[in-house]
């Protein structure tokens, strides 16, 4: 299995001199199975440069998994060029939106309304198939399987685990480490803690032993207090998660849009310095646009 990062920026695309090394496109990850099946995680602006590389493979079948439908994870989808060419198939998977009561098709075709985009869904030439997922539903994508678990973000967000030939990768999508909404003196504190532990354990068990964990790591410990509840994790929380789940490599991604390349490297070093290296530690790496990693 092979992965390639096409978009590693959180929230909004940030082109410019200060982000040129790690990249300014929003979330998009290409995953190839051992039989070269194409799996794409999220359709942020990074899906456009990915699409430009696909012409030699046409016609193709692409398995797209959307973690959640916030803009930075879907904004590139209308520009996924294979959609305009007959013979291609795009299988789109994602969660239901229980607040507005829309399935993944309704949400994404909303993005193709005439006021937002000149081409309507009905005018696309590729075959589009939509699958609204339930939690822990497993999908077969060529020689790989993709299963999911609900993470913690302000909208339903699935983390995806992809397995192929004994290798595995997990992507959190957007995720904030759980926190207790009660104070230690509150009567409800202990009960809430118990529920949190159950959920945390479920997430750790789901991720356990993956070769690669790709985790939303928007914030530093200093950033976090002002951004608690926004649905993103810190370096320190993800270092802990990677250790608990016994992963081999963790890529920190969803870089905070105002963070320059230099600052990004600096905050990782600061976080690692706070967490002395332990024997079974994974590799700690920053996700970078264009980076290819073979499992």
């Amino acid at each position: 299995m092979k992965i390639k990062f096409w978009g590693v920026r959180g929230s909004i695309a940030t082109p410019g001199a200060s982000t040129v090394r790690y990249g300014g496109n929003t979330t998009c990850i290409e995953v190839r199975s051992d039989t070269n099946d194409l799996i794409i995680l999220d359709a942020g602006t990074g899906i456009f440069p990915l699409a430009l590389t696909l012409f030699p493979e046409l016609p193709l079948t692409c398995h797209l998994f959307i973690t959640h439908t916030h803009w930075d994870h879907i904004q590139g989808l209308p520009f996924f060029i294979p959609n305009f060419i007959p013979g291609n198939t795009l299988k789109i998977h994602g969660a239901y939106d229980p607040i507005a009561r829309r399935d993944i098709r309704e949400i994404l075709t909303g993005q193709l309304q005439y006021c937002y985009f000149p081409v309507r869904e009905a005018e696309l030439k590729a075959r589009l198939e939509y699958v609204t997922l339930r939690e822990r539903q497993t999908i077969t994508a060529g020689s790989a399987t993709v299963s999911n678990i609900l993470m913690n973000h302000p909208v339903l967000n699935f983390g995806y685990r992809i397995e192929c030939n004994g290798k595995s990768v997990f992507f959190t999508g957007d995720h904030e480490q759980l926190y207790n909404i009660y104070e230690p003196g509150d009567a409800e504190y202990a009960e809430y803690d118990m529920f949190m532990n159950q959920k945390n354990q479920a997430i750790v068990d789901f991720i356990r032993g993956v070769d690669v964990l790709i985790a939303d790591t928007s914030y530093t410990l200093e950033d976090y207090p002002a951004k608690k509840g926004w649905g993103h994790s810190t370096f320190d929380a993800n270092i802990a998660l990677a250790r608990q789940a016994g992963v081999k490599t963790i890529f920190f991604t969803h870089h905070e849009p105002t963070r320059s390349d230099d600052a990004l490297e600096q905050v990782l070093q600061q976080a690692l310095a706070r967490q002395p290296r332990q024997p079974e530690d994974p590799q700690f790496l920053l996700a970078r646009e264009g980076l290819v990693y073979e499992l």
């Binding site: 239901y96 607040i99 507005a100 539903q137």
Partner: protein, 299 residues
């Protein structure tokens, strides 16, 4: 109302209590930084709202892999923001959906009520009312015709007659109600609002939304008065009243800063907002969580 006033008061007394959680939730969620535990506390105090939230969280919409048994557990598993938005969307409809809304008249009335709530909130925001306060305008609009639901439920045949009379003669429904029932929906609405101890502006909206003279001076009442006419003019829902005014009283135009066509011109597309509210109510009613009560005719 004559000799039947006593009976009427008994009937009003027999109406279900207005859930205080509704107001608390609207107030809390208007603040983006509201403490999650406060929200959970308010929901916890309302067993019906708790049940509905859990029903939704455990529904196929969420597709969860495990059963959720409490609001606190729901917050952990689907996130405080999702619970907050779910509560925010369903809380104001509590009162309406706890009622039996399964006749064609009540279906149309519900769409009308939602439209008036959404438009009243729009007019309030436009007039510089804060987000926190604008929810009061939404609730005032949503509940302004609640007296019709009460009349329709207490006196289904007579109220149907009043609806038919208004339609046949082209007279305002409240006039037809007075002719047939000897009282109109704003009178019973005011009594209900009093029983529920709703805020004064909301009480005025339920009791005085057809009056623009000799009435209390509330911006919410102006907004609901105008929103009522706007909803009828743009043709959303059916209030059962065949008469639609074509202009607004000059005083209201001045206070709201526009004539009827001008105010309609500021609406933009509110259909999404209305549709969302409607969908939610329908799915609830389909879930069988309403509490129909037998009619109580004759008075």
């Amino acid at each position: 109302m004559g000799h039947s006033k006593k009976k009427l008061i008994q009937l009003v007394d027999g109406m279900p209590a207005f859930p205080p959680s509704v107001y608390h939730i609207l107030k809390l969620t208007a603040d983006i930084n509201c403490a999650p535990k406060e929200l959970v506390r308010v929901i916890d105090l309302d067993p019906v709202l708790t049940m509905k939230l859990l029903q939704l969280v455990n529904s196929p919409y969420f597709g969860l892999s495990r059963q959720i048994g409490s609001i606190r557990q729901a917050v952990v598993f689907v996130g405080i923001n999702t619970i907050k938005n779910l509560a925010l969307t369903i809380a104001p409809m509590e009162m309406l959906s706890r009622d039996n809304l399964n006749t064609p008249f009540l279906e149309g009335l519900l769409s009308h009520a939602i439209a008036v709530g959404v438009v009243a909130r729009h007019l309030a925001r436009r007039g510089g009312v804060s987000e926190l306060e604008s929810t009061d305008f939404f609730v005032a609009g949503l509940l302004h015709d609640f007296g019709k639901i009460a009349l329709h439920r207490f006196f289904p045949r007579k109220h149907a007659k009043a609806l038919a009379l208004a339609a046949k003669k082209g007279i305002p429904l409240h006039e037809a109600e007075r002719q047939i029932l000897n009282l109109d929906h704003s009178q019973i609405g005011a009594m209900l609002a009093d029983k529920w101890q709703l805020p004064p502006a909301c009480m005025a909206s339920m009791g005085q939304h057809h009056r623009w003279k000799n009435r209390e001076n509330f911006l919410a009442l102006d907004c609901v008065y105008a929103a009522n006419i706007i909803a009828k003019t743009i043709g959303v829902g059916d209030s059962g009243n065949p008469v639609t005014e074509t202009t607004l009283p000059h005083e209201i135009e001045q206070r709201l800063g526009g004539t009827l066509p001008e105010l309609i011109g500021t609406l933009g597309d509110l259909s999404g907002e209305m549709h969302k509210v409607q969908l939610l109510l329908h799915s609830w009613n389909a879930n069988g969580t309403t509490h129909p009560q037998p009619p109580t005719e004759p008075l």
